[in-house]
C-alpha cells in the first residue's frame, strides 16, 4: 500500500495554513494526526496533491477551561484529552469516549479536530459533540465563525466547513449531571456497531434536561432531540426510557455492513441507548 505522490507543506501558523488552502484550492487537504486520511491515501482512495500539515501551529493545541466553558484546540490528541484531569472532572464523558477510540498508538496521534472535521460517520467524537451541544470554530480567509455541531454534518464526509476553512477548536459548556458513552464494537480499533452519548441533569428525582446522540447509525451522527425530550421532565421510568428509545429509533437510519444487518443495528442501538441512559442516570 503505497500512496500517490504529493507536495508537503508545514505552515508555521494558522494564517499561513489558510493561505496555503487558498493557493491550492481543491488540490489541498489539511492533515492533523492523519490516521484516517493516511490509510485512505495508501489505499489510493484519496489522492491529495498538496498536504498541509498542521502540526507546527501551536495555536491549535491545548485545552482551556474557563468556568464551565471548555475550549479544545483542534490538534489536541485523544491521549491528551484522556490525560487531562481538569477536563475529566468537568466533562468526564470526553475521557470515557476517547478511551473507546481505536488503540493506544492511534490515540497518541489522532486529534479531536481530525475526528470531528472529516465527517466520517464512524467517528465517535461527532455524536459526543452534538450531545454536548458543542460549537466548531472554523477559521477561513474571511475570519472566524462558529457552527453548531448539531448543524455541521450534512452527509458522509460532507460538512458545513467551506473548502478554504480549517476547524481550529471545539467549544462547549459543561452542564454537569450524569453522563455515559456506551459503545458496542467488534474489537479494539473498530468503529461502533452502535454507540450512544447521553447527558442527563437530575433535579431532585426528575430529569430536568437530557441530551442523546448516536454514532454510526446514519450517514451523519444523530442528535436525537426527541429522545432527549422524552426523558426531560420524567423520572426515567421504564415507559420514559421506552419513549426515548422509540424516539431515537425514529431518527436513525443505519445501513448493513460487516457489523450486521439493519435490523440488528436498530436492535443494538436500542440496547446501547438503554444502557447509556441507565449509566448516565445513575451518575446524575
Amino acid at each position: 500500500m503505497i500512496p500517490a505522490a504529493f507536495e508537503y507543506h508545514r505552515p508555521p501558523d494558522l494564517a499561513a495554513a489558510i493561505a496555503a488552502l487558498r493557493d491550492y484550492g481543491d488540490d489541498a487537504r489539511v492533515v492533523a494526526g492523519g490516521h484516517s486520511l493516511i490509510p485512505m491515501m495508501k489505499l489510493r482512495m484519496a489522492e491529495i496533491p498538496h498536504l498541509i500539515d498542521l502540526q507546527a501551529i501551536t495555536a491549535l493545541k491545548g485545552i482551556s477551561i474557563d468556568g464551565s466553558t471548555v475550549r479544545i484546540g483542534a490538534m489536541t490528541t485523544q491521549a491528551e484529552l484522556i490525560a487531562h484531569d481538569g477536563l475529566a472532572s468537568l466533562a468526564p464523558i470526553l475521557r470515557e469516549t476517547a478511551l473507546q477510540i481505536a488503540d493506544p498508538q492511534v490515540r497518541y496521534v489522532g486529534t479531536i479536530g481530525g475526528n470531528v472535521a472529516n465527517g466520517d460517520p464512524g467517528n465517535d467524537m461527532p455524536a459526543l459533540m452534538q450531545c454536548l451541544d458543542a460549537g466548531f470554530i472554523l477559521a477561513g480567509p474571511d475570519g472566524e465563525r462558529t457552527v453548531s455541531a448539531r448543524e455541521f454534518y450534512q452527509s458522509a464526509y460532507v460538512t458545513l466547513r467551506e473548502d478554504g476553512e480549517i476547524l481550529t477548536a471545539v467549544s462547549f459548556e459543561a452542564t454537569g449531571g450524569g453522563h455515559a458513552y456506551e459503545k458496542q464494537k467488534r474489537k479494539i480499533g473498530d468503529y461502533a456497531t452502535a454507540a450512544a452519548a447521553v447527558l442527563m441533569v437530575k433535579d431532585k428525582t426528575a430529569c430536568s434536561r437530557a441530551s442523546v446522540a448516536m454514532t454510526n447509525l446514519s450517514d451523519v451522527p444523530v442528535w436525537s432531540k426527541a429522545a432527549g425530550d422524552a426523558l426531560a421532565g420524567t423520572s426515567c421510568g421504564p415507559a420514559d426510557i421506552d419513549a426515548a428509545v422509540a424516539a431515537m429509533l425514529a431518527d436513525i437510519a443505519p445501513t448493513a455492513d460487516n457489523r450486521g444487518p439493519v435490523e440488528f443495528k436498530r436492535h443494538v442501538a436500542g440496547v446501547i441507548l438503554r444502557r447509556a441512559i441507565a449509566r448516565a442516570w445513575s451518575r446524575a
Binding site: M1, H35, I38, V106
Partner: protein, 163 residues
C-alpha cells in the same frame, strides 16, 4: 517527485535523509537507515508491528509520512538495549516466552517500553488494554502480558536500587 531534506534523531544519532514527502516513515527507517527491527504487518494502522517511539509517544510508523517526521526524535527496538545489556523488557520476553516467530516482537517491546514509562506498575488489565494496538498471531498474548508485568517489577526494583 521532488525529494525533501529531513532531519531525524534516531536512537540518539542525528540523520539527514533525502526522501519523497510521501515516503512512509517505516520505509525511511528500514530502507534508508537500515533499522529493520520494526516491521510492516497490516499497513492500515491495526497491527502495530511498525511501532516506534516518536517524541515520547508510541507511533505506528507505517501511518506517518516521512515529511511529518521531520525534526522528530525516534527510538526503535534497536535503541532499547545492546547485546550483553538487554533492556529488562527484552530479557523478560525471552524469559517468559513472550514471542514465537518474532515478527511482532520489536513493535510489542517498543510499545511496552512507553506503556511502562507512563504506568510503571500496571495491572494485568491495564497491560492488556495498553497493548491493544499490537497484534500477535503466535502467542495468544498470555506470555506477553506476563513478560511485561515481570519487566515492570524488574524495572521498579532497578530504579529503587539506583535511588
Amino acid at each position: 517527485m521532488k525529494k525533501m531534506q529531513l532531519t531525524l534523531t534516531v536512537n540518539g544519532e542525528a540523520h539527514d535523509v533525502l526522501a519523497e514527502p510521501r515516503e512512509l516513515l517505516i520505509h525511511v527507517l528500514r530502507e534508508r537507515l537500515g533499522l529493520t527491527g520494526p516491521h510492516i504487518g497490516c499497513e492500515t494502522s491495526h497491527c502495530g508491528a511498525c511501532t516506534i517511539d516518536m517524541n515520547g509517544r508510541s507511533v505506528k510508523s507505517c501511518t506517518v509520512f516521512a515529511a511529518q517526521a521531520d525534526g522528530a526524535t525516534i527510538t526503535t527496538i534497536e535503541g532499547l538495549g545492546a547485546p550483553g545489556a538487554l533492556h529488562p523488557l527484552q530479557e523478560a520476553f525471552r524469559e517468559h516466552h513472550g514471542l514465537q516467530c518474532g515478527f511482532c516482537t520489536p513493535g510489542m517491546i517498543t510499545r511496552a517500553y512507553r506503556l511502562l514509562q507512563e504506568n510503571p506498575s500496571p495491572t494485568e488489565a491495564e497491560v492488556r488494554m495498553g497493548m491493544a494496538g499490537n497484534l500477535c498471531r503466535c502467542t495468544g498474548y498470555q506470555n506477553i502480558v506476563k513478560a511485561i508485568l515481570a519487566a515492570a517489577t524488574e524495572m521498579n526494583t532497578l530504579k529503587e536500587a539506583a535511588e
